[in-house]
Amino acid sequence: MSEGSLTVGVLALQGAFDVHAAMLKQLGAHAQLIRRPEQLGGLDGLILPGGESTTFLKHLERDGFFETLAAFVRTKPTFGTCAGCILLARDVERPAQRSFGVLDVTVERNAYGRQIDSTILLTPTSIAGGPLEMVFIRAPKITRTGPEVDILASRAEAPVLVEQGHLMAATFHPELSTDTRIHQHFLDLVSRYKLQ
């Protein structure tokens, strides 16, 4: 299936939604900015971008958005980056906060420090094509992964790119690099689920 027939939403309440949408378009998919629960219908997949997870939750409190989105991510391909990864996680620490709980990982918020500790690393990955550039910005840390979770890349001992069935998550920002492999990997996943 070609990417042209895929419609992927980007949650656009706040944060780095523009850059994700631009990358999806570059790879030939239709990108749709999602700001209200009724816009989730008809999507083949969804990206939960980076931004502030506390701000996202504040917006999701209204109009049953949290519940609608929770139902979506239980069955539909979803990729969470940074704050989006926090929303997908089963457990969130420091401080604890509400999440969809679908991805079997524990995430610690801002675990690598403040902005001054933000960094760009070139890190090996099991995705073909050599090491990946990874932009970490006030990044969260995955401190535990369940048995169903595949680890695609790690920073020191901590997983930074993971996959579990129809879900993907990264604690860094692939949308801020020029390397499109991670978004392509997600579109391949979306494509597989659409065919099923």
């Binding site: 309440l13 706040q14 944060g15 506390t54 504040k58 001054i116 006030r138 801020l176």
Partner: protein, 310 residues
């Protein structure tokens, strides 16, 4: 002076990390707070970041005196309280204040005209810092001069502490108009444009090609209601700073915390749904009044904060 890192070039990893954090703040609201209690309210209301200040601009304007960087203890307390990014202001050209803020772990430094300028000629060399900077601008030339010095985010200045949105609108329209005018120029005309804008040719050329600033462009200075936030967002602002408009009733009195939280929440929602008038109507209805404000038109030229910066 802080050690010069290798991040002086556009698209260097240092500048990408800095503008990367600015990307994460897009669509949101950054709120001025003067203490831990207000910081908590801001975070609860959905702010993407807080600006730790000793006095909000309305108070600075009303009380006078020299306005300086906030006390480090107060900034530290706010950093320890909230999980969202914390910004703080340094005086224009006061690189020593900026060095202190970087050591404190502030996530973004605002080299701000709201504080009393420390240097009448030079702004801070922002490339020399690891911490990203935001700077105010009234027009494209000013924005590009700040970006040349290393700013990772621009905010239009407006007129801080007035609750009057007219200057925020003027500055956003000015910058958008000037960017648009560059996109129709021929290659050979760009050299002269750079001269007229008093800005580096390379940056002028980048704007001419893309039609937008090479760093995120936010709006500030006089935004006091959900509709104000929606207005500047529709004019091209990618996010908004709200200062006195949330926590003040007038230039001297703080609003009741409950009232401030409702306002903060409504402005956050309006910034996200800036192009949806039905949601805007609902946000506006939730608010109980707004800061009394100060019409910017009655201010004398010498009372304006926006003319600071060179």
């Amino acid at each position: 002076m802080a050690e010069h890192t290798s991040n002086g070039h556009f698209n260097s990893s240092g500048l990408r990390l800095k503008t990367g954090l600015a990307e994460m703040l897009k669509g949101g609201v950054i709120m001025d707070v003067v203490d831990v209690a207000q910081a908590r309210i801001a975070e609860r209301a959905g702010a993407t970041a807080v600006m730790a200040l000793e006095r909000v601009p309305a108070q600075i304007r009303a009380q006078g005196g020299v306005a300086r960087m906030s006390h480090p203890r107060m900034i530290r307390e706010i950093i320890d309280t909230v999980s969202i990014p914390v910004m703080a202001k340094a005086r224009i050209g006061h690189f020593a204040e900026a060095q202190v803020l970087q050591v404190l772990g502030v996530d973004f430094i605002d080299e701000s005209e709201v504080l009393t300028p420390a240097d009448e000629t030079y702004h801070i060399d922002k490339h020399a810092f690891t911490t990203p900077f935001v700077c105010g601008a009234r027009d494209l030339g000013e924005a590009l001069r700040r970006i040349a010095e290393g700013a990772a985010m621009i905010r239009t200045k407006g007129e801080a502490g007035t609750g009057d949105v007219v200057h925020a609108v003027r500055h956003m329209r000015q910058i958008v108009r000037e960017m648009r005018s560059l996109t129709v120029l021929g290659e050979e005309e760009l050299y002269n444009a750079a001269k007229e804008f008093r800005a580096p040719y390379e940056l002028v050329r980048m704007v001419a090609k893309s039609g937008k600033l090479p760093v995120p462009n936010f709006s500030a200075g006089g935004i006091a209601t959900p509709a104000d936030a929606a207005l500047v967002r529709q004019l091209g602002a990618e996010a908004v700073f709200v200062g006195s408009g949330i926590f003040m009733s007038d230039s001297y009195t703080f609003a009741e915390p409950e009232e401030a939280e409702i306002r903060a929440r409504a402005i956050v929602r309006a910034s996200t749904h800036f192009d949806d008038p039905r949601i805007l109507a609902a946000c506006s209805e939730e608010c109980q009044g707004a800061m009394k404000g100060l019409a910017a038109a009655v201010l004398d030229e010498k009372e304006l904060l926006q003319t600071r910066g060179w």
